[in-house]
């Protein structure tokens, strides 16, 4: 498959080279373009700035001031003409000079299917009482993302996406409109073609027609609790409007590591300034070049990383015949990671159909993806952070050669391992297969009542294998036990919805009503079998072991029943009121309190429709006010969390002697659902013939009675306790504006800007007002009255001016009992900026993002200070120094205490590693910094060949080539030389760990051909 693709590409590239020569001359030939004029049916006047699109392609243009347009196309193409405030029109091009009449939209703009709201029921945006945004296929696939989330990053106000790892299969954290949950689950709900699914990382971005982002909690009424964080309503391609289309896309990109934390290059291996060839730490003498004792020219750590390669091939077929539609796509991705030998491949397929059998409309979708990964765990780069700047890394690669310096018998230290040894002997493999699909049947019972049943399936089967190669050595500490661990994890979710929907008009009032019943059934089964002492280096099977076999299995079942309803009343097409309600019954809670109800209400008012004179007499084209209120219940709990469970650990059972210990988590059988109340109000405004569109929204949310495992004093007998406590409040302002700076027939500059301000505060933690804070993970805290999560760092004892108090004799500082507060770890200010410049077939897209106001800290720096590789350790030339801004405590005769600046007492031993270990590395204040950044995420340049240019090669309908780059530059706060502030660890924002593969940037090329 892959070879075939490559061959095709090669041929195609050759043909382009030929085709490109012809294009300038051929461009603009009349028979290859369609021209026309768009006229308003109402007054017969031409309408400018109307979007004209050849259906089934991404070719589009705008009408000029005289309503005229020219677009590459031919007779037989279907033309889609749309503009806000007008009903869109689809016409078949029967000649080269078209006249299209459009009429102002009157009642329901349902043809404008921009918004696919809950349950796939399409709604005009004006009916919605909360903020929504739509990201279309072409915006999403700028930069050729492998994962839809990458494509969304920075494009939606209020949606924060962090790609926080650079593995071949990276991880993401997604937060919509700030934190509502102390447990950190603030990701929106994903709904693919009407079916809620747990994750979308395996969804092919090329299959996506549009993603509608419902930012409010409104979606929860119809999809359940997970919608409390908003929802991404994803609609996949259906083949609509396609006469039979084959599309092929190929993109290749190269990635390279960047933003490694800085390392010093002045001092080499040794201790206390004395060179030691067997020491890995960089506490030796300064590099002097004698006998080759010098830092290497290139950052030695970078040499561990290689250039990653991503190759992505997509092929899709689509067709519409009558009312029936088909869409089929195939995808193949090969990824070579930036860590040597890391690799991944993915093959996927999707088949969507829509069929009409009499009045019954049957919609089905099935997708399959198969993902292989083969990676090494974090050992190699954890090693590299510690290596001295004179580490001869290239001599370590062929470590299996007994004469190699990298061979464990010869490696210069036995404390830190050769990174190549780790790469070769530690492997993690996984095979993941995701099947998801749905069948949906809809039947119109009467002209106003429809009944629909939708059954959705999501299944994720994961097989993993971790191996460690046995290595025997006579050298103490160089041997390694061989081990193998095989695991499987099978998850499946079945989701069924029965929906009755009614639509009736009573004079000026129009009612839309939905009533539904939902069941959800989730089953997870995991098994694991492992042996930790294998006999043969080259045989990874549990059968060839000594000692015990370990492993186990677990089954988790979770079920839920719900009923729900939604009623929307519209008055004269400009005033809308929606009421929603849902009642859930879950298996997770005690039967006495497992049922909970949550209601919602929203309203919208289209001023320009209520008072058309505004539209006619001012520059305003569209003005909408909206508001909503929702209360949403959620049970954030895993199955079987109500009872204290016991396990056998510590080697038990020993023969027939059993020994059980209780969990260290204190359960709580009376746990109840948590509730989030949210309020939203906003305004949408379009003006200057839709050249400028703006939206401003204010959002308030308050979550109470949160379910979480709070860290508790170990003296309670448990290290964590399940509680129903805590209150988080968010006040959020979102502002987006986009506009065409220049707009002519051939030339367009469009810019979009979004800004989100999130003021998040922990209102309460333990209800009774006793505890003011609780620790989440490492330095991350929830503190009453402060944003969640906040950074508190371990610090020195300081006087009231913040100066470090040192001992009068030793000059050494001491530890403060309480950590010092720094600030929020989630950026309160998030800015996005996109610019698109189009000239004829060329389009240039740039995407910037900035996040400000948050703090971060780095565990990498900690390890680097300890080993003396961090530049901080050389700032005093490895000599004893007076701690800057330090004071000495003076006891006055009257018993009071004063602090005198210390200018002379040098910190004892501060030239040596012991000082840096004890008095610097241990204090996280030394590696905390503001996490502000401004980043260019994507830059892409595309050229769509004119029809004339490709006319010679008759088989093509459309050809686009492009180049794209990601992460071209980042500007960080001056104090942050630790890493990418976007990276985070263990779901904790603002925490940079050495376990993460450092960030990379990519440069790539894409070819897209439609047949």
């Amino acid at each position: 498959m892959h070879r075939l693709f490559s061959k095709t590409i090669f041929l195609l590239v050759l043909s382009f080279a030929a085709g490109f020569q012809l294009s300038p001359a051929a461009y603009g030939q009349a028979d290859l373009s369609l021209t026309g004029v768009v006229i308003s049916e109402e007054d017969g006047k031409p309408v400018s700035y109307v979007t004209v699109n050849i259906k089934g392609t991404n070719r589009h243009t705008l009408t000029d001031d005289n309503g005229k347009f020219v677009i590459p196309g031919t007779i037989g193409d279907t033309i889609f003409v749309s503009s806000l405030g007008y009903s869109p029109v689809l016409i078949a091009a029967d000649n080269h000079n078209l006249s299209v009449k459009i009429k102002p939209s009157t009642f329901v703009l349902k043809e404008l299917k921009v918004v696919a709201t809950a349950l796939g029921i399409k709604r005009a945006p004006k009916e919605l009482g909360s903020s929504t945004e739509v990201i279309r296929a072409d915006e999403l696939t700028q930069g050729s993302p492998l994962n839809p989330l990458t494509g969304l990053t920075g494009k939606v106000a209020g949606l924060r996406i962090n790609m926080y790892d650079s593995k071949v299969d990276p991880n993401f954290q997604i937060t919509m409109r700030g934190s509502r949950s102390i447990t950190g689950n603030n990701a929106p709900l994903y709904v693919v073609d009407g079916v809620p699914v747990p994750e979308i990382s395996r969804l092919n971005p090329g299959d996506i027609e549009s993603i509608t982002i419902l930012k409010g909690a409104n979606a929860a009424a119809l999809y359940g609790s997970e919608g409390v964080n908003g929802a991404l309503i994803i609609v996949t391609k259906s083949g609509e409007g396609s006469k039979g289309r084959v599309s092929f896309r190929q993109s290749t990109s190269l990635s390279d590591v960047y933003l490694l934390p800085k390392a010093q290059t002045e001092f080499g291996q040794g201790l206390d300034g004395i060179y030691s060839p067997s020491e890995y730490q960089s506490w030796g003498p300064a590099f002097d070049g004698t006998n080759g004792y010098s830092a290497r020219k290139r950052d030695v750590r970078k040499e561990l990383f290689t250039t990653g390669i991503n190759i992505q091939n997509d092929l899709s077929f689509s067709k519409e015949t009558g009312d029936d539609r088909y869409y089929l796509s195939l995808q193949n991705i090969t990824v070579k990671g930036i860590i040597p030998k890391d690799r991944s491949s993915r093959n996927g397929a999707r088949f969507n159909t829509l069929q009409n059998i009499g009045k019954l409309r049957v919609n089905s979708a099935i997708s399959y993806s198969h993902v292989n990964t083969n990676t090494t765990p974090d050992g190699p780069w954890v090693s590299m952070y510690k290596m001295p700047a004179n580490f001869p890394i290239e001599e370590m690669v062929n470590w299996r050669d007994p004469n190699s310096k990298g061979h464990p018998d010869n490696f210069f230290t036995s404390v830190v391992k050769n990174p190549y040894f780790l790469i070769d002997t530690y492997r993690n493999e996984s095979i993941q297969q995701v099947v998801s699909g749905k069948v949906e049947a809809e039947y119109p019972v009467t002209s106003w009542l429809r009944v629909m049943y939708r059954l959705g399936l999501y299944s994720n089967s994961l097989q993993t294998r971790s191996t460690v190669e046995r290595f025997d050595s006579e050298r103490a500490g160089a041997s390694q036990q061989g081990s193998v661990s095989d695991g499987t994890s099978n998850f499946r979710r079945i989701n069924g919805d029965l929906i009755l929907s009614a639509e009736r008009e009573f004079g000026k009032i129009k009612i839309n009503a939905i009533a539904g019943h939902n069941f959800r059934d989730e089953l997870t089964k995991t098994t694991n079998i492992a042996a930790s002492n294998l006999l043969f280096p080259d045989l990874f099977n549990q059968g060839s072991r000594s000692g015990n076999l370990t492993g186990g299995s677990a089954i988790l079942t979770e079920r839920q029943f719900s009923i729900y309803a939604e009623v929307t009343a519209g008055y004269s097409g400009y005033l809308f009121l929606t009421l929603t309600g849902r009642r859930d019954k879950t298996s997770l809670l005690h039967p006495d309190n497992n049922t909970y109800f949550y209601p919602g209400a929203s309203a919208s008012f289209i001023i320009t429709d209520a008072f058309p004179s505004i539209r006619e007499n001012t520059v305003t084209d569209y003005l909408k006010l909206y508001t909503s209120y929702n209360k949403t219940g959620n049970v954030n709990l895993s199955p079987y969390s109500l009872n204290l469970t016991y396990t056998q650990t510590g080697g038990f059972p020993y023969g027939d002697l059993t020994g059980f210990v209780p969990s260290s988590k204190n359960p709580n059988p009376d746990i109840r659902p948590e509730f989030v109340r949210s309020f939203e109000a906003g305004v949408q405004w379009s003006l200057l013939k839709r050249r400028l569109n703006a939206e401003l929204a204010y959002v308030y949310s308050n979550s109470q009675g949160q379910i979480f495992a709070a860290t508790s004093s170990a003296a309670t007998g448990y290290t964590t306790s399940m509680v129903n406590l805590g209150e988080l409040e968010n006040n959020i302002i979102e502002f987006t504006i986009d506009g065409d700076i220049a707009r002519t027939r051939d030339f367009r500059i469009n810019t979009a800007f979004s800004y989100t301000y999130i003021n998040n505060v922990v209102k309460d933690l333990y209800g009774s007002g006793e505890a003011e804070e609780y620790n989440i993970f490492r330095q991350s805290y929830a503190i009453k009255g402060m944003p969640y999560p906040s950074l508190k760092v371990t610090d020195y004892k300081r006087d009231n001016q913040g100066r470090i108090i040192v001992d009068a004799i030793t000059g050494l500082p001491s530890a403060s009992t309480e950590p010092t507060y720094k600030g929020t770890m989630v950026p309160p200010h998030q800015l996005g900026f996109q610019a698109t410049i189009r000239y004829k077939g060329i389009s240039l897209f740039a995407d910037f993002e900035s996040r400000l106001g948050a703090w971060m800290y780095s565990e990498v720096a900690n390890a680097m200070i300890q080993t003396g590789t961090h530049p901080m350790t050389t700032q005093y030339g490895r000599k004893e120094f007076v701690i800057p801004n330090s004071v000495i405590e003076i006891n006055n005769p009257d018993g009071s205490v004063a602090y005198q600046p210390n200018t002379s007492v040098v910190a004892k031993g501060s030239g040596n590693s012991a000082y840096w270990n004890k008095y610097v590395a241990g204090y996280s204040v030394n590696y905390a910094a503001p996490g502000d950044y401004f980043k260019m995420r994507t830059l892409s340049l595309k050229y769509t060949f004119s029809r004339a240019a490709i006319a010679n090669m008759k088989i093509f309908k459309e050809v686009t080539i492009g180049a794209e780059a990601t992460n071209l530059f980042i500007i960080r706060h001056k104090d942050n030389d630790f890493g990418d502030p976007e990276y985070l660890y263990n779901n904790t924002a603002g925490y940079y760990s050495w376990r993460q593969v450092p960030p990379y940037r990519t440069v790539g090329f894409t070819v897209n051909i439609v047949f």
């Binding site: 500490g477 015990n548 016991y646 709580n668 004093s713 170990a714 003296a715 309670t716 006793e770 004890k918």
Partner: protein, 495 residues
């Protein structure tokens, strides 16, 4: 058609409402047992194992460093930096710290739940054992941290932030708990009572030995208060003590080729019989070597291997330089069966050896000290000799060698506390390191040299309250403004 649909809807709704309760009743854990499954005999072995594990790894290791037995080879100096630098903040850290507090209270909770279960099952012997072991842990926690939660401890969410009790009060309460347990065990059991058997991996169900064990712990606890002026209390309580244990209390769950004795697998060899990092990194201090050597102590050759040039060579605890004479290959590692023709050595006997909680030798030395102070009847010299003999026997020394040693003029009892504590120190090497550190804090004996990097009177006296406690119970922690492990002291540490 309309009617059909309505019927259909009614049927569906009916089906849903009747089957709903049953359909949702799937929250019974199919994977792990819960309270109702677990019996006392399934709790006790694991609880005892974890107590022993903490003793032989966490506590013994810290005590062996700070009690003068252990240092590290140059190769190992980085692995034990926080101990060598007396780095309080690093030791209290959640991350890479030494969680004696967290483990201690977790294990205390095992006994708390065992006690509750024993009361429910009508098994007072188990209640008594649970109380003895709780006293053990509380005493250890006071010795490590000073003031700790007791009255409000182990009650889950009832006291999410337990108040701290004075260390001396916790000591008294623990001693009372031991007394109650002894009373409970002394009563003749009802025939229906459940009694421990092989699930008692410490004494195999011998309740008489449990009483003696409790007495030994009590004696140890009372002697801790020797240097603070409440000797009348000590004497009253000591008078109540019956017979103490005259054998070694050791835990044997049934170690095997996969699950080795943790001391063995940490400081000697792993399950593939390869030497471990602990074996490469841990070295005796030169002070320890000299102490044995100067008395021609036969235990030296059972404890440590000679270097190539035929001498025993130790290290300096806390040394941070690169002097090659302290490299692993130039210093004496532990001596084990692999170096002894397969035969047992002093502390390394086999990979399945039991874990020692209190050695017979320590019991004798406790008696010797109590007698020397005049707090109990009996001949201090005899107890002293018995202590040495018990240690010699434990460390595989022949009777002939033992007798020669006992006759050494610097060994024979000279009626001083110094000699009792020196011999106790020599006997507890790498077995009960925590006791050596405690004796040093209590008595300043023996005169262990300090690390080269610190001023002479700077010694670790206790640990800082752990970071987890600072994070969850700051009000109590800040009432005791303790930020330096070399200055703040536990209640019985008066010197």
């Amino acid at each position: 058609m309309k009617i059909n649909i309505s019927y259909f809807a009614i049927i569906i709704i009916a089906l849903i409402s009747t089957s709903c309760e049953k359909y949702l009743d799937v929250n019974k854990d199919p994977n792990n047992p819960v309270e109702e499954h677990i019996r006392v005999e399934q709790r006790l072995p694991a609880a005892l194992y974890y107590t022993a594990l903490q003793e032989v790894t966490q506590l013994n290791q810290l005590g062996s460093f700070w009690g003068g037995y252990w240092g590290t080879s140059n190769e190992g100096s980085n692995s034990y930096k926080k101990e060598q630098l007396y780095n309080g903040p690093a030791i209290m850290a959640k991350r890479d710290g030494i969680p004696i507090w967290e483990n201690g209270y977790t294990y205390l909770n095992y006994y708390e739940l065992l006690k509750a279960d024993a009361e429910g099952e009508g098994a007072p012997a188990y209640s008594a054992i649970a109380m003895i072991m709780q006293a053990w842990h509380y005493l250890r926690l006071v010795d490590t941290y000073g003031d700790i939660p007791f009255t409000q401890a182990l009650q889950g969410q009832k006291y999410p932030r337990p108040v701290y009790d004075d260390g001396s009060d916790v000591y008294k309460a623990s001693i009372d708990m031991l007394s109650s347990a002894i009373d409970l065990l002394g009563r003749s059991p009802l025939p229906s009572e459940k009694r421990p058997a092989k699930d008692d991996i410490l004494f195999n169900g011998d309740l008489g030995k449990w009483i003696q064990f409790a007495n030994t712990i009590k004696l140890r606890a009372l002697l801790r208060g020797s240097e603070v002026s409440n000797s009348s209390y000590i004497q009253t309580e000591i008078a109540k003590i019956g017979s103490v244990l005259n054998e070694t209390a050791q835990v044997q769950p049934g170690f095997n080729a996969t699950n080795l004795n943790p001391f063995w697998s940490t400081y000697y060899r792993n399950s593939s019989n390869k030497t471990t990092n602990g074996y490469i990194h841990i070295r005796p201090t030169q002070f320890a070597i000299d102490s044995y050597y100067s008395l021609s102590d036969p235990r030296l050759s059972r404890l440590y291997a000679k270097k190539k040039n035929g001498v025993y060579k130790g290290v300096i605890f806390g040394y941070e330089g690169t002097d090659a004479s302290f490299n692993k290959d130039n210093t004496s590692p532990f001596f084990g069966p692999a170096e002894n023709g397969g035969k047992s050595a002093a502390i390394l006997k086999s990979q399945t050896q039991p874990i020692i909680l209190i050695s017979a030798a320590e019991s004798w030395f406790l008696l010797a000290e109590a007698a020397h102070r005049g707090w109990i009847q009996g001949d201090a010299a005899e107890y002293y000799r018995n202590g040495i003999s018990a240690s010699m026997q434990q460390m595989e020394v022949s009777a002939t060698e033992r007798d020669a040693y006992l006759a050494h003029p610097d060994v024979t009892f000279n009626n001083t506390l110094e000699r009792i504590i020196l011999q106790k120190w020599l006997a507890l090497n790498s077995i009960s390191g925590f006791e050596a550190w405690s004796d040093y804090r209590r008595l300043g004996l023996p005169e262990i040299p300090n690390t080269p990097g610190t001023s002479p009177d700077e010694r670790p006296r206790r640990l800082l309250y752990p970071e987890t406690e600072v994070q969850t119970n700051i009000a109590e922690v800040s009432k005791r403004d303790i930020n330096n492990i070399t200055t703040a002291r536990v209640w019985w540490d008066s010197k």
